[in-house]
């Protein structure tokens, strides 16, 4: 596999790029919210490379598709409700409560059986049961039906949604991604064939505040030579609108300036923020309050901007602890890359 940056010469994959790909690939999926900040010595496509690594990781995970992703998002919401919001005395002052969340989980879940429209009369409401924690799965009760208990599974989870949020789309897409480039990039990484034709919104990239084009442009500067194919990092990321032919979007895009997603996304598992403003936005935005965040900045920023990022990390330390686990999982970074990682305290 060959690597090209800008208008320079093709070369072997450099250590820094390999490291970032592996970092995304090794990033653990899970229920603990983690926040990492990576500083680079210059502006680069580092965020894109981490996303690519995480995308390849997700291609090998049979649960990494929108059906399972929705179930996991509901489960994270349920945990927040039971462990934090249910007994909280503040309504809702997260900064005083010191919970580390930004909006309240009310514990109310809406049910809309498949095939029905969302008319008022057909909706049913459920409450999250505290048994969710003990059983480590989503447990709901229906006060309208004499506290009937429900255990939605992966498929039926699509009929449930957090009250006040729109139900996700669940449509089948024609088209398929090519497994070969992704496999080779990570040295024969396992790929679940079904994932090549399933969209996923559990992985998100938060773009630069200068706009979608700025993030795409710097990603397009990186190219890979894989089996006689010349592929841009921007194409490999499968972000909606970044590739002409591919209809399978495995990475959602969050516009940090307008604070809008490129499609319906509910609480992704991981967001990689490209730049200081994107990092600050991602760590505070309610859509990411249960999402792990990897922020990538470069150190050739103005002091005020560096301090804004530092202040954000500092304020998070009230609720987060040093994440030694993640530091053990990822290798020692090459000279020039610095990392700090935190995980939500329990």
């Amino acid at each position: 596999m060959l690597f090209l940056e800008g208008d320079k010469e093709w070369s072997n994959l450099p250590q820094w790029a390999s490291y970032l790909l592996h970092m995304g690939y090794s990033w653990p999926a899970g229920n603990v919210r983690r926040i990492a900040l990576i500083s680079m010595p210059c502006d680069s496509a580092a965020a894109g490379l981490i996303v690519l690594g995480a995308l390849i990781r997700d291609l090998g995970d049979p649960k990494a598709n929108n059906i399972e992703g929705h179930y996991d998002a509901l489960l994270r919401y349920a945990r927040q409700y039971v462990q934090y919001c249910r007994n909280c005395q503040m309504r809702c002052i997260p900064e005083v409560a010191g919970c580390g969340y930004t909006t309240e989980a009310t514990g109310l879940i809406r049910h809309r059986p498949a095939g029905t429209k969302s008319r008022k009369g057909r909706k049913k409401f459920f409450r999250i049961s505290e048994r969710t924690i003990d059983e480590n799965r989503l447990v709901l009760t229906s006060p309208e039906q004499g506290n009937l208990t429900w255990w939605p599974d992966l498929n039926s989870a699509y009929d449930f949604q957090v009250d006040g949020e729109p139900f996700p789309e669940n449509r089948l897409i024609d088209g398929v991604l090519s497994a070969d480039p992704y496999k080779q990039l990570m040295g024969d990484a396992p790929i679940v064939p079904e994932n090549l034709r399933r969209p996923f919104s559990g992985l998100c990239m938060a773009g630069r505040t200068m706009g979608d084009a700025a993030t795409r442009h710097i990603c397009a500067d990186i190219r890979f030579g894989i089996s006689d194919r010349n592929l841009g990092l921007d194409e490999l990321l499968t972000i909606r609108g970044w590739t002409r032919s591919n209809p399978i979007y495995r990475v959602a895009f969050f516009n940090s300036r307008t604070e809008e997603f490129d499609r319906y996304v509910q609480s992704p598992d991981l967001v990689v923020a490209d730049g200081d403003s994107a990092f600050i936005s991602a760590t505070s935005h309610k859509a990411f309050q249960r999402t792990s965040v990897i922020g990538v900045i470069h150190r050739t920023l103005e002091r005020d901007r560096l301090e804004s990022v530092g202040n954000k990390i500092q304020s998070l330390r009230q609720w987060y602890m040093d994440d030694n686990e993640i530091m053990d999982l990822i290798r020692e970074p090459p000279l020039g890359i610095r990392i700090t990682a935190l995980r939500k305290g329990t």
Partner: protein, 542 residues
Amino acid sequence: MTTVTASELFQYLESHQNIEIDRREILSFSFGTIRRNIRRIVVSLYDSDDEEALRLARELRAMLSEWLTVPAPFDKVIEESLVSTMGPPEAVQARWGKDILECYELCRNAAQKIQSEESPVRAQLRIVLMDIRARRQRFKIYCHRRSIDHFQTILAEEHQELLPAEIFLNTLKGYRETGPLDVLIKMGPLRVRGWGSVPDALVSSPRFSKLIQVVWAGCNDDADFGYDPAANAGMAGSDDAADVGMPKQNIYSQMNIKTAVTRYGNDPGAFNLTDNDLDDLRIFSTLEQTAEYRPATLVHVEDLHGIFYPPHSRVISFDCDPASQSPVMLRMPGDSLIEGMYVIVPVVDDVDLGGIHARHGHFSEVWKGRLKEHYSAAPDKLIARLRAAGLNLVNLSAAIKHWCSPPSTVIHAPQQVKHFEILINVLEVNHDVEVGTAHHMQPFWQIAWNEVRRSRGEAIQAGFQEQEIVEEQLLHVLSQLVPELRERASRSAGFNLAIPPQHGIRGTFNFLRIEEIETGFRVPNAYLRIIHDIRTVDQWRV
């Protein structure tokens, strides 16, 4: 200029794991005397609550801060600057008392004596430059744009040659685009903000194997210079480390940066025996840390003007890049608003201005004409009358000359409304110029002052909610003018555009091209978001 790629930079860092900071501290007894006495005057004046004392303190502070951070020659300019700022000794004693006079006299004597010496900082820089040349090393000089001339003349004095323009770096953007170097030269301490400040990236992301820092003794580096939020666990601005004048090793453990300090100078004993070498820049930066002053970013626009914005401001702006998807929008200075874009200053006729409107500079022509007349006929008489009326600026003569200059982006006039009123009354413009209608008579000075304010961009600020509504309307208007804006921007750096009449807002858009964006100022609220002459902004530098 080529942009260095990440791969190239990583390759360079891998092969240059040891970075050296060669810090050369310079001592000079004469210059130390000037430093000590200016510092005493400034600290003493800052204790006053008199606006004139504070203004003088700020001017002296800016003057000394500049000498400490640029390689200025020891010539008569130092004495002239002192005299033009402070005035004659009799006036100093009469206005400020004996103690200040004593310090002033010591300063002046030292400033006279110094003219027979060569600045040891310049001598040291010459040695550095000659050595680098002899070794044929790749080098650049990081300095403020306005100090380039001082560097240029260092070699010119003996070798009649100028340093090429491309070796000077003065913006973060320039540093970002710089490829690997052997040596980077910096005059003055490594400060985060204000005078002599440089990007943290110089140390946190070095592109050189050696940094040669020539610095007046006592000017310490900021303890947390080279800040990296990913390495420092978010701790910014900690100032508890001893002022050792060098960055802490543990911050850069990965990089292995080592600092070697050497002292040069004609009076090494002064360092311990007197307070010559206390850190003036640090003392000055603590003097105005009050709530009345807010941190601000300076957007330096064309035609030698600048506008201060408080943190997180959103500025109506235009990006002439054809690839821009939203050419006109609200942007944050230093973040999404960058060099090469345009700040749009709407000069909108609003109720706040009394309902009398005229083209830019109309009323100023009247009073400026009268001012020129009086000043050229009898300058001393005019100055005496202004002083008697209460316009008691120390260097009034220079101020009058400045006010006489014709309107450009702004109308040059006194900064304070009370001074402006005195000026117009002394010129007696009120008596022979009628303005307004029978129903709405206003004194001339009021109308002319509104014109000055409007030229500085103040009119738009009438009320926060009103401002938001007007901004929204203006953005709508501007979004319809994009093709015309692009065409105008391709023809000239800055331009004006009348607001088309069908939009129900009267006024003009001033498009000011951004040349540079600088942080590190603390500015009173009243001075934010208005256009300043660039020569006046240094007083707010931290």
